[in-house]
């Protein structure tokens, strides 16, 4: 049985991450990302997923319907997969409309699964194009990936796609197979908190800072994976954890060493530490604190590397993305391998509410900082501070 997969990559996705833009949505942000020296990240991540898929011999006779370059054709060919071009004209630079057009063409061609590389904005565009007519699977390559359509890593995306195709091959021909799919939420920034995907945004801010309002865009169908390779949508904390987190933030703030540089990651939990210090957090970006003062607001990788030189020691204060368990690699790509290489494992403090951790299925914190830096110290069990004098032990993995 011939299997048929659609593939597209949003080449601009994720570029805003390392340079501290909190997203890559909208022309303004893309331009700002280029100005800050951002490099493309999505194609390389998409390629990792494709290589994994291509290595799976059990999938059998597979053809990939590919978007024109730079949205994927060359990557798919390079991975050794048999390709079939989708005849869709696309612009330069690419825009959200191109994502929609390619996704529609793939669905019309009758693909079994549409594999796309990008972030929440790309997921929203793909969903708008195909709805529930075609199962989706996201290769995580954006800045924020709060939607449930993304695999835990590019490799997991490749495996998950292959597993799904194998299961399809075993299922009776010509029937719908709802048991192989699960519905999941697609979430993107709400108006005022960001924009749609590349090229589609209107009033996109130029910095990562701002509110974290997000909205449910719709419900997509994704391959069923019971083992944690697919990450669920980001969920908000339950009520009641707020006072524990405030007390924790006070405790963390009171423990800061005046001579150390603290890099405070994005999120509302870590923002409480800055609030306890009387400082304003960027919430969506990385802030730097030293001697009780804000020495960097919403900083990118280069600014961080510059700051590191000025202090004898650097510590990280990180939050956890609810529902996904992401620790590094989503929304905080500024904390790049080059930055992480200069932080020692005992200098990483992780903060979270306890209910956010217990809601994680599986109970795993995830790190996705790229193949070039494995950082063994990030793997294994680490303590997460959930309240003053209360820690939870969590496994950190890919």
């Amino acid at each position: 049985m011939r299997r048929f997969v659609g593939f597209l990559v949003n080449p601009l996705a994720g570029m805003g991450g390392r340079v501290g833009l909190g997203g890559s949505d909208g022309e303004q942000r893309v331009a700002e990302a280029h100005r800050r020296g951002a490099q493309p990240v999505a194609p390389a991540r998409a390629s990792r997923a494709l290589h994994r898929l291509a290595a799976r011999r059990d999938v059998g006779d597979l053809t990939v319907a590919v978007a024109p370059d730079p949205m994927g054709a060359e990557l798919a060919e390079a991975s050794g997969l048999r390709t079939q071009p989708l005849a869709v004209p696309i612009g330069s630079p690419t825009t959200a409309a191109d994502t929609v057009a390619v996704a529609r063409a793939a669905a019309a061609a009758g693909v079994d699964l549409l594999l796309f590389a990008g972030g929440d904005g790309t997921a929203a565009d793909v969903l708008a194009a195909v709805g529930q007519s075609t199962p989706l699977l996201g290769i995580p390559a954006g800045v924020k990936m709060r939607s449930g359509v993304f695999a835990a890593s590019p490799e997991a995306a490749g495996d998950l796609a292959a597993d799904h195709l194998v299961r399809l091959a075993r299922a009776p021909v010509g029937e719908v197979h709802p048991e192989l799919l699960v519905p999941t939420e697609v979430i993107d920034a709400a108006p005022g908190g960001g924009g749609a995907s590349t090229g589609g945004g209107g009033a996109a801010p130029t910095g990562g800072g701002g509110s974290m309002q997000s909205a449910l865009v719709g419900v997509a169908l994704v391959p069923r994976a019971g083992d944690g390779r697919l990450i669920g949508p980001k969920s908000s904390s339950a009520l009641g954890s707020s006072s524990a987190l405030d007390a924790l933030a006070e405790a963390v703030a009171s423990e800061l060493d005046p001579d150390t540089l603290y890099l405070v990651g994005p999120g509302t939990t870590t923002a409480r530490v800055l609030a306890a210090l009387g400082l304003e957090a960027s919430t969506l970006g990385v802030d730097a604190v030293a001697g009780g003062e804000l020495v960097g607001h919403d900083v990118g990788e280069q600014e961080i590397l510059g700051l590191l030189d000025g202090y004898p020691r650097t510590k990280l204060i990180l939050g956890v993305i609810g529902g996904q368990g992401m620790l590094l690699g989503r929304g905080n790509q500024q904390l790049s391998p080059r930055v992480l290489a200069r932080v020692s494992p005992e200098d990483v403090t992780i903060l979270s509410s306890a209910d956010k951790l217990v809601a994680l299925r599986p109970a795993l914190l995830r790190v996705d900082v790229g193949v070039e830096a494995p950082f063994p110290w990030l793997a294994g069990y680490r303590r997460v501070r959930v309240a003053p004098r209360r820690d939870m032990l969590m496994r950190v993995g890919a």
Binding site: L357, V358, A363, R389, D391
Partner: protein
């Protein structure tokens, strides 16, 4: 006899006023005679016996009723309840029938009229029972010594936290050993008492197999570890088969291990905490051992090994005049000749380094007596069989519940049999009908079924309930309970409003439980109540 199931039921409804609204000024049930002059001359003014600060400035506003008005009032109120004689698979607490015989035992004057401060020579029989129950629990646990002073399971956990503190302080390691390790699924009293005793709490999460992992424990323990406090099995009914290795891991790091036996019903007679290596354990006499649970006195029997015994809170009961050949570690209590007779006496002793009392005197002795009666009536074989029945019935319930639409089992990926209880979720039902677990609970009372308990940790399993059958209930009762649950779940799909607005056949409709979740409304002491209500 055949019966329509579920039974038709409606609670009795009395238009009963508050007790303050009935009666009449001056009316009395009992008229107490004046104190005779000779007695008054010796005893003095009774009011003088109360410390001045504790005396009321004005007499209390008490209802004034005749005896029959009082009896009628409380009879009516009792008729409006389910009386805990319905079918109660309450869950997470082992609910047992409390024999009426035990009530008559504790009404004996030798028990009822004993004052805790009277001389030990005058209550030898009671001290013997305390000692004999101590021996029986040693048999069941492999521990070396028990005290019954803690007034409940959490109180026993608190005692363990105190003893942990004293033990490490005596070794000069308390400053270093400031962490207690527990799991997210352990009963919350373990982490709460550890924190109250000044320890930092390190919690292990559940992993894919429904348990916290040995690897996580290894990563958690260090030279800072003071103790491990865990349940096993947990409330999901999942037994941790690595528990002996857990104990070894904590011991290797220098920590103590405490076995919270709240879920002992599933493993009674099957394992002994001491043989697994634990240093201490706790039994709840008011649940597992056939004494009443709920609103009555409770006992958390705390047992430990010789190593920790010096830190136990006094007084302890010790036999004197026993020859060396009566070493209780050699066997049960049956063949101890001469107990309480032939010159064998019992005395009260204070341990050399006791942590101080966690409650008064020897604890709630009526509960101790009931537990002793239960142990003797059951015997070792009976206790073992009760455990088998509990696990069997729980798995019978499990098989039936899993076929009910809207009900799912917690950790469904864990295929292993569950033990004496299992946690379920009504999340599917809630998603599909809007009906929540608390609505189902309320609606079940319309069929004369006692409300079930949800969960100690409602944040782990959404819309939870945790039925526990124990060895007590007949198959007919259990089937009726399940039939009612199935009926209510089906009703939720067909007529969700009926369930959402339940109960309909009880005296009281819905109670606003919102304030229970609002710390601003809590007042756990009279002082806090006065402060919150701005009373002088």
């Amino acid at each position: 006899m055949s019966m329509d199931r579920p039974r038709r039921y409606h609670a009795a409804v009395w238009d009963e006023p508050l007790v303050h609204e009935i009666g009449h000024p001056g009316r009395r049930g009992v008229v107490v005679p004046e104190v005779e002059p000779d007695v008054a001359a010796v005893a003095g003014d009774a009011a003088e016996l109360v410390a001045p600060a504790a005396r009321r400035r004005r007499p209390p506003s008490l209802p004034e009723l005749s005896e029959w008005e009082v009896l009628r009032h409380y009879l009516h109120l009792s008729q409006q309840t389910l009386g805990m004689m319905g079918i109660s698979l309450f869950g997470t607490c082992t609910m047992k029938y409390n024999p009426a015989l035990s009530e008559s035992l504790i009404s004996l004057p030798q028990v009822r009229e004993v004052h805790p401060l009277q001389h030990e020579e005058t209550m030898q029989g009671l001290l013997e029972i305390v000692y004999r129950l101590d021996l029986a629990l040693r048999e069941l646990s492999g521990m070396d010594r028990f005290v019954f002073q803690p007034g409940g399971g959490a109180d026993a956990a608190w005692l363990h936290a105190c003893i942990t503190r004293a033990y490490h302080a005596a070794r000069g390691e308390l400053a270093q050993r400031n962490e207690i390790v527990t799991t997210i699924q352990a009963h919350p009293c373990n982490s709460a008492t550890a924190a109250a005793a000044g320890f930092k709490v390190v919690t292990l999460p559940l992993e894919e197999n429904g348990r916290a992992s040995l690897d996580a424990l290894r990563a958690a323990v260090s030279e800072r570890t003071a103790a491990l406090m865990v349940n096993n099995p947990d409330d999901m009914g999942i037994y941790n088969p690595d528990i002996a290795e857990w104990v070894q891991t904590v011991h290797a790091a220098g920590g103590l291990c405490f076995y919270d036996h709240a879920n002992f019903n599933g493993v009674m007679g099957k394992l002994r905490a001491g043989e697994l290596g634990f240093d201490a354990c706790m039994f709840m006499l008011h649940k597992t051992f056939g004494a009443p649970k709920g609103n009555g006195p409770a006992v958390g029997a705390y047992g430990c090994t010789e190593r920790l015994a010096p830190y136990l809170p006094g007084p302890l009961v010790e036999p004197v005049g026993l020859d060396g050949d009566l070493d209780p570690s050699r066997g049960g209590t049956e063949d101890l000749p001469g107990f309480g007779r032939d010159g064998v006496r019992f005395r009260l002793v204070e341990p050399e380094a006791g942590v101080g009392r966690v409650r008064e005197y020897l604890g709630n002795l009526p509960q101790v007596l009931k537990a002793y009666a239960w142990v003797r009536a059951m015997g070792a074989e009976g206790i073992d069989e009760a455990s088998d029945l509990s696990v069997l019935m729980s798995n019978y319930v499990d098989a039936r519940l899993r076929s009910i639409r809207g009900v799912t089992r917690s950790n469904p990926e864990v295929g292993a049999y569950r033990m004496e209880m299992c946690r379920y979720s009504l999340e599917t039902l809630t998603q599909e009908t809007g009906v929540r677990a608390v609505d189902v609970q309320n609606r079940m009372t319309d069929f004369g079924i006692d409300a079930f308990w949800l969960s100690h940790e409602p944040w782990i399993v959404p819309e939870p309930f945790t039925p526990e059958v124990g060895e007590l209930w007949s198959k007919e009762d259990v089937d009726e309970w399940i039939d009612v649950l199935a009926l209510v779940c089906a009703e939720a799909y067909e007529h969700p409003e009926v369930v959402r607005t339940a109960p309909h056949r009880q005296v009281t409709h819905r109670i606003d439980t919102g304030p229970l979740d609002d710390p601003a409304r809590w007042a756990t002491t009279w002082r806090a109540y006065r402060a919150k209500h701005r009373m002088p």
